[in-house]
């Protein structure tokens, strides 16, 4: 079935430069996932002059999630891509300007805060960081070499190429099992390799996985290397209990072993915790007054669309209060 998605952060026009000499936005939101897009809606309704720097993936991580069944208001469930598009469309109604640019550098040392992208420099009186999290790489030999030639982190993108072929999925959480089930639509066999002896994924997903005849599980096992010629041919694995090593033949390797926060550019500017997440208080405030953080970038504890969206809303309510207070102190 054909569908036509209008979700893109590029089509909503270029940053608003009409007001020469006033390139300072009230609020700059970095990140175009559920937290950033919800923040954009709230910012629009608060009548803040807002720039949304959306990044590469409209909708963030949910855009490549096969199915979202736990977002309220969609009793039948909704595809991640469609939910992302709805977020995006709603945000576009409210935001002042949108740019599909990658942020390369920030300066949070003094307000207004400065944000550099590949092509421009912007200033904002307040900033919300909602850059989310990205798939963690395995770090095993062969992973980088065979990326795009058998190694993938996006089942919805690449599943088609594994029609009637054998794939392995590395991981045992929600993403691993959800995407593994998606791959069962194409692949002849989906082998889930997990380092523990039970899955971390939610019960409902586990039940579907165990009931799927195409899925097989290899427990207590770590992948130590990805083997190939031109493309992937197998993975070298080690059983963590017996220490035995062996090789599993496969055409594809999908890596879902968790996420790392997108905070590299904020190091030295904002307080980060040991795992690299931005430290916030219960009001989404970071270590720098006027800079807020929301969503997966700030908390690995509840990786849920509804939590990220809620945090995005909180961040704007808090930013609005901050802007009102700082404005009156200048008056």
């Amino acid at each position: 079935m054909l569908d036509f998605k209008l979700a893109s952060s590029q089509q909503a026009g270029q940053p608003d430069t009409e007001r020469e000499g006033d390139r300072v936005y009230d609020l700059i939101i970095i990140g175009g996932g559920p937290a950033g897009l919800t923040a954009a809606v709230y910012a629009g309704r608060a009548a803040l002059r807002t720039l949304l720097l959306g990044g590469a993936t409209p909708g963030g991580q949910i855009a490549n999630t096969d199915r979202v069944e736990n977002y309220p208001g969609f009793p039948e469930g909704i595809s991640g891509a469609d939910l992302a598009m709805r977020f995006q469309n709603q945000a576009e109604h409210f935001v002042t300007s949108l740019a599909n640019d990658f942020v390369t550098e920030v300066d949070f040392s003094a307000a207004p805060f400065t944000i550099k992208t590949h092509s421009d420099t912007y200033q904002g009186r307040a900033v919300i960081v909602a850059t989310g999290a990205f798939p963690r790489r395995l770090g095993a030999p062969g992973e980088k070499e065979y990326f795009g030639r058998g190694v993938s982190t996006c089942a919805t993108c690449d599943g088609f190429f594994y029609k009637d072929r054998r794939v392995v999925v590395i991981g045992g959480g929600d993403s691993a099992i959800d995407e593994g089930l998606f791959l069962c639509k194409f692949a002849s066999e989906v082998i889930v390799i997990h380092r523990r002896d039970e899955l971390r994924a939610t019960k409902a997903l586990q039940e579907r996985a165990f009931a799927n005849p195409k899925m097989r599980f290899v427990w207590d096992t770590m992948v130590e290397g990805i083997l190939g010629q031109d493309t992937v041919t197998g993975v070298r694995v080690r059983n963590v209990k017996t220490d035995e090593t062996s090789t599993i033949e496969t055409d594809g390797v999908f890596v879902y072993i968790g996420l790392i926060p997108g905070t590299r550019i904020f190091a030295g500017q904002l307080e980060l915790n040991e795992q690299g997440y931005i430290v916030t208080d219960s009001h989404q405030r970071t270590s720098v007054p006027g800079v807020f953080a929301a969503g997966d970038v700030q908390s690995p504890d509840f990786r849920q669309v509804v939590i990220a969206a809620g945090a995005g809303a909180k961040a704007v309510l808090e930013a609005d209060r901050y802007l009102a207070e700082t404005a009156s102190s200048y008056a």
Binding site: L2, D3, F4, K5, L6, A7, S8, Q10, Q11, Q14, A56, T57, P58, G59, A63, N64, A81, A84, N100, F102, H118, S119, F147, G148, R149, G150, V151, S152, C154, T156, C157, D158, F160, F161, Y162, D230, T231, G252
Partner: protein, 214 residues
């Protein structure tokens, strides 16, 4: 039945409301239409109906071979997006799913005739004097791919020596095999250089220069 529902059509109309120059969407199909040939033609006709500045032209790949050759079209379904001139902007396979945005982007880009690229990129492209062919392999369910396609089309508009194709991998499995596409986006430059993933503009330019040096 229209492919674009009322809601989407209305948004597309709005998107295309401020085209300052005319754009020709040239579609190639054939009498016994290939998979998605009919839909590609219909899509282009529906879009053309939403803007006075857009004209749809339909050609038969077999009987209009001369036109196909003129535009360098070697497979169908194909869409050539032409503005004041031919910038080398092409779509092979239907731009559905996330690629629909790439098509709208290409229309606006070609109408404006001016790419939005950094000064460094434009400078690098000014030094390109040999032909460059970018083929960006995509699937319609890939949210990252549109980024690579839009960038490739920008490069094509910026340089008379660069042409850029979106290639929908599922409709051209033989090409996916030929170029060893197992993940998307994968950009093939002049047959000899590959880029995996949606990478930033400076990296694409670097690879493009590398392809010419090779």
């Amino acid at each position: 039945m229209p492919l674009l529902n009322d809601e989407i059509a209305e948004q597309v109309k709005e998107e295309l409301a401020d085209l300052t120059r005319s754009v020709e969407l040239v579609v190639f199909t054939q009498e016994f239409e290939c998979e998605y040939c009919a839909e590609t033609r219909q899509l282009v006709e529906e879009i053309a109906a939403l803007s006075d500045q857009i004209e749809a032209e339909v050609y038969n790949f077999v009987t209009d071979a001369e036109k196909a050759e003129e535009l360098g079209v070697d497979k169908i379904p194909a869409i050539a997006v032409l503005g004041e001139g031919d910038y080398g902007v092409r779509f092979y396979g239907i731009p559905a799913g996330y690629e629909f945005v790439s098509l709208l982007h290409a229309i606006k880009l070609v109408a404006a005739g001016e790419p939005e690229l950094s000064d460094e990129t434009l400078e690098a492209l000014a030094g390109v004097s040999e032909p460059v062919h970018l083929q960006v392999f995509v699937t319609p369910t890939c949210p990252y791919c549109q980024h690579s396609v839009m960038l490739a089309h920008q490069l094509a508009v910026a340089s008379p020596n660069v042409r850029a194709d979106m290639v929908e991998a599922q409709e051209f499995p033989q090409l996916a095999i030929k170029y060893q596409v197992m993940g998307v986006p994968r950009t093939v430059i002049n047959e000899n250089v590959h880029i995996e993933g949606a990478v930033p503009e400076p990296m694409v330019v670097e690879k493009l220069q590398g392809a010419l040096a090779a």
